[in-house]
Each structure stands twice: as structure tokens, then as C-alpha cells.
Symmetry: C2
Subunit: 363 residues, 2 copies
């Protein structure tokens, strides 16, 4: 089974293809886009697993291809490492030109980094994204956000640079650690809450296939999620309006992450707890019935995500939320559901409301 989602951004449109075995089709995709050469940018966890396969595919399609591999992990996502990769890329012989394509191979970090290098080399090279984690599949694969971290904050240096195509090979999920799978599943639940109640049904019906990494189930799941992300992104490419809906669960979730420390909680767990807290804000305001919020919590639990967390410091979490980069003039901006599948942005949540729901996560 293969699925294709078209991301309609006018002259920057592209297809996201999802299926088993697509790593072997990267070469043909690059050739179809009239690339003559390709630099595969990957990291030390993923390159040993798939770089050879990708390079072989590119060579078979007639491209001159080579790889550039950087140290895996978020700490590598710096302008310094980007600069080293650019040195290697720009120093390549014979010199790269506009028909050289960047292939981003790996999870979110590899995609952000390779995308940023593609965005800035020769003022923008075309790039193909080949994500290998569920989180990258359902989130970073669509929308063209690229960038690196800065000591002051994550993703503060970067560019919007849409890929020329995305190839999601569900077979790469087999090498993904289980905890990385849950990071991606939290984003799927988020997409359901902000845009598509029927996806909650899909998640409920397919827990076994998802946790068992069934290729057809994963292809379907990823296609649904890419379509949701694509719809949001095409309506708001540069994140000035409704793209902010994608922050659902993240305002409280990021603050939880910062408060307890990145090493003490997984991203997906923090976002899951953030969604629970933000849904409880909505139920507290009478915006959604308790049973809807409870249903989301049951789905999260069935997918292996925690729905409780003891020892959270509600006062500190509130303070961190006030310093969120999405806050405007000091007001906390938060996405709340008025139904599963329908959300809006609110800037009037109070300290008391937030503290109360954060404390409820400990019970």
C-alpha cells in the first residue's frame, strides 16, 4: 500500500509519499526532479542503518551522490554544526550547483539541520526529506520549517524552506525505539483534537496495529496526519494565523518539559500531559463535555502515554508559560478545543485556572 498527500503551496507545492520500501525510490525521485547530484545529510544513529541504501538508490538513478554525517542528538542542532556541514558541502569537488539536491535522512534533528543547510547553501537548494521517525513523519515532514537551536532557545535560527518532495518509508519505523514511537503518537492525538474527530476512532480501532508497527496501518495513520498538517500549513504557510493551532498541548506541555528538565520526560509524554491539561481547561470553562476530554485521555493511555505526573510545580509552570515565545505582550496564548476537531486561540486563561489543571495531573 502506498499513499500520496499533495501539499498545495502554489509554486512551492510538493508530494508527500508514504509506504513501505520508499528509501529505495529516493534516487528515482531526485532524478525525476532533474537533480544531477545529491548530498545526503544524516546523523550517526540513522546513517549506519540507511545511508548506503539511499546512496545506492541515487547512484542507480544516475546521480553523483555522497553523504555528510553529523553527531546524532539535539545538542548537535547548532549554527556551529550547520556551518561545518556547509563547509563540507561548499568545499565538495566538483563544486555544487543548482542541480545539486540535498537529501535529509533521519528524524526531526536531521530534517531541521539538512533543511536549514538546504535553505542557506547557494541561497536555497532543493531538498528531499526522508524522515525516519514517526514524529518527523507526522509533524516535521510537512511545512518547511527548518532551523537550529540557540543557547537562548530552541529553533531560534532557521528558515521556512519547503522541500521538493517527501518520502516516508514506514519500514524505517521498525528500527525506531518504542519511546520514539510514543513521541509521534502524541502528535497524532493532537491532530485529531484540532482538526479531525474521526481520527480518534481510527486510533481507538488500530491500537494493536500501531503498537505492532503494521506497515499498512502505519501508512494509513501517517497519511491521515500528513493530510491534516498539510491542510493547516497550506492555509497559513508562514505561521501567522491558524498554524498556531498546532501548538495545542504545547503551551502547557513545553512548560512541563522545561520545568522537570528535558532529560526527565520524553517530549511526547510532556505534550500528552499538556493536551490533558489544556482539555481540562476547556472542560472547566464548559467548552467541551468531560466525557470528550476523558476519551482523549483513554486514547493516550492506550497508546502507552502517561496520563498522570506527580510532583509538577504548577507555579513554576505558569511562570514558564508567560515567557513562551508565542506569548504576546506578556499574555499567555493557548489553544483550547470547543469540540474534538475544532479549536481556537485564547489569551485570557488565568493563573488560577492553569495551576488547578496542572495540579490535577498529579492525582
Amino acid at each position: 500500500m502506498q499513499r500520496t498527500v499533495h501539499v498545495d503551496l502554489g509554486p512551492r507545492s510538493y508530494d508527500v509519499r508514504i509506504g513501505a520500501g520508499l528509501v529505495g525510490e529516493i534516487g528515482q525521485s531526485a532524478a525525476d526532479l532533474d537533480a544531477k547530484r545529491a548530498a545526503v545529510i544524516s546523523e550517526t544513529n540513522v546513517a549506519p542503518l540507511y545511508a548506503k541504501q539511499v546512496l545506492d538508490s541515487l547512484s542507480s538513478a544516475g546521480l553523483d551522490a555522497w553523504d555528510i554525517v553529523f553527531q546524532a542528538g539535539e545538542p548537535s542542532k547548532t549554527l556551529g554544526v550547520a556551518s561545518e556541514i556547509l563547509d563540507e558541502l561548499l568545499g565538495h569537488e566538483p563544486p555544487i550547483d543548482r542541480r545539486t539536491m540535498i537529501i535529509a535522512l533521519g528524524g526531526g534533528v536531521a530534517g531541521d539541520m539538512a533543511g536549514f543547510v538546504a535553505a542557506t547553501a547557494l541561497r536555497g537548494l532543493r531538498w528531499l526529506q526522508c524522515p525516519t521517525s514517526l514524529l518527523a513523519d507526522v509533524d516535521a515532514s510537512t511545512g518547511g520549517k527548518t532551523g537550529v537551536d540557540h543557547p537562548v532557545g530552541k529553533n531560534l535560527i532557521g528558515a521556512f524552506h519547503q522541500p521538493a518532495g517527501v518520502l516516508i518509508d514506514v519500514e524505517t519505523l521498525k528500527t525506531l525505539p518504542r519511546e520514539e514511537l510514543t513521541n509521534g503518537l502524541a502528535e497524532c492525538v493532537k491532530h485529531a483534537v484540532i482538526r479531525d474527530a474521526s481520527m480518534l476512532d481510527f486510533l481507538e480501532r488500530n491500537v494493536e496495529g500501531i503498537l505492532g508497527n503494521d506497515p499498512d496501518v502505519m501508512t494509513e495513520l501517517i497519511a491521515i496526519n500528513v493530510a491534516i498538517k498539510a491542510a493547516v500549513v497550506t492555509a497559513d504557510e508562514l505561521e501567522s494565523g491558524q498554524r498556531a493551532h498546532l501548538n495545542f498541548g504545547h503551551t502547557v506541555g513545553h512548560a512541563i518539559e522545561t520545568s522537570v528538565g528535558y532529560e526527565n520526560i520524553r517530549h511526547g509524554e510532556a505534550i500528552g500531559l499538556g493536551m490533558i491539561a489544556e482539555n481540562r481547561l476547556a472542560t472547566g470553562r464548559g467548552m467541551i463535555p468531560d466525557q470528550e476530554a476523558s476519551r482523549v485521555e483513554r486514547v493516550l493511555a492506550s497508546l502507552g502515554l502517561p496520563v498522570h505526573r506527580a510532583g509538577l510545580d504548577a507555579g513554576e509552570i505558569w511562570k514558564i508559560m508567560q515567557h513562551d515565545k508565542k506569548a504576546l505582550d506578556g499574555r499567555v496564548r493557548i489553544v483550547l478545543a470547543s469540540a474534538i476537531g475544532d479549536v481556537d486561540i485564547y489569551d485570557d486563561v488565568t493563573e488560577d485556572e492553569v495551576k488547578s489543571v496542572v495540579e490535577s495531573l498529579g492525582n
Copy 2:
């Protein structure tokens, strides 16, 4: 006298305003664009002359404004210096946000650098360009090219990032060294040859006003040139087609520059000689009459640009041309006129043709 040229790029459209005293209007322009704060990025030659005036203008318009000043000169145009400026910008307290605007104050280097910082900070901040050299006024002010150099070549790292507005204060030309003026005038002649024969008339009629820096003449001259550049850029924002016409004079000109060394020839002089050589290629092919090429040479001479250069190494210049980053699959691509105001791209010029016209520059 004030002139405004609208650059029509859909959602990325902006106005280029030209006139005397516009440095004092930057604050109002930023406020009109709903900016709350502004970082003025400038360099050590220009900041002492105009930064205070710009900061005062921003403060008077109610913005919180500060400046970031880097060492003047092309050697500063590196990713390392960009990184230092980003450190200063992202470390500012209170933290910058989407309503923080970048003001680029200075010549081409300041515009390229500040524009690149604007392109990458928070994945793209809005920026106002306030060019202070004639070359930047007529060339870099329009088109959104930003970037830094790399040891391998100039402008190899960068982005297309259109400004939100451009303010060209012709009074800043009074502090511009005369040799910098000629750099800009060479670009004006180039615009005439590629798009607008009537501008040659304007140049011929206004030599005195131009070399005397008459504010009205310069306003008119810059407005004509910005309009030409804007027409080219709007037809081809990302430089895939006719924007390459702007390389007229540059294929041979850049090769001359590289061959004799950047310290031994001014950019405008090299481009002037490049245009003469490329027009002689066209006359050699019978594409334009000799008197048209001679007229262009007379205009260049009247504006103070050299029309001869002894000791050029024609063989080396040909070799350098073959390595130009615009060359495709090793073929030299060159822009030739079929009339003054009408050019096209050719990839069939031979070594003999090029050597012959380069050698003719020595006579």
C-alpha cells in the same frame, strides 16, 4: 522630490521610497508596519554617520530601538560574524519577538548581512533596508538577496528574504567616497543596456548632476534603476530565468576581478570593462552595430569609469569564466545584447571570441 517604486511580489510586495531626508522617516515607516521594537544592524563606517539619527527616528515613533554594529568591509561578511550578530540579537532583553524589526543601515555588505540575520532569526523577521551607497541603492535594495561569503566563494550562504520596505535617502550619498559612486554608476549603465535604452539618454544628459550629487538628479536616477531592477525581479523572484540578465557584464567582469585581484581593481571598473568586452562579443557576431557599443563606452568614460585595461591575462580570464557558478555543465553562460535595452543568454561563446575581446581592452 520623492519617488516611490512598488515592487510587486504578491504577499511579499513592498515599496522602495527614494528622496532626501528619508533616514529621518525610518521610525514612522517601522511604526506603520506595526513594529514595536527595532534592531539597527550597521557597520563601523556608516554607524558613526547615521545610526544616531536612525535610532532617534525610531524612538520618536515610539519604538524600543538599539543598534548592533559590526566591522565594516567585505571580510566581515562571514557566517561567523552573522552568528555573533545573532547572538547579540537573540540575547537581547527583553527577548525579541515577531514584532521586532531589523533595520539594515549601510552599503551592500550591511544589507546582505542584516538581511541574512533577518532571514534566519526566529525563522524570518521583517526588515527595512536603508542603503547608503549608490551600488546598494540601485542593485541590492531590490530583490531580497541576502547572504554571506564562504572561503570557497562570495555569497554562497544566504537566503531570498524580501524586505518589508526600502528607504533610500539620497543625502547619504554625500558621505560616499567618489570611487564608490562609480561602482553604482556601472550598474546603472548595465540596467540601461539590458532593459532601457532611454536611460542612456538620461545618463548622457545628466553627467554633471550625477557627478555633482544633485539630490533631484540622484533621486530620479535611482528611481529609474530601482524600477528596472524591480521589473526583472518581479518576473523572476528566485533567479531561475531572466533575472540572469542582471549578470550582463558580470561574466567577464567577475573573471577580470578575480584575475587581477580584488585589491587591484574596483568592482564597478571590472563590471564596466566586462560590459565593454561583452558588447564587443555582440558586435563581433553582428548582433549590435559598432556605434551602439561605442556609445555605451562613451557613457562609461563620461561617468569616470575606465574603458581600457592593460595587462589582462585573456587565457586565465577564460579559464575563470568556465568555473563561474552560473556556468552549467562546464559551458560558459553569458548575457549578450541584440540591441540597447534587449538582451538574451548565450552558452556558445568560444575561447577565441572571449580572448579576442579581452585582449582588445588593452588597446
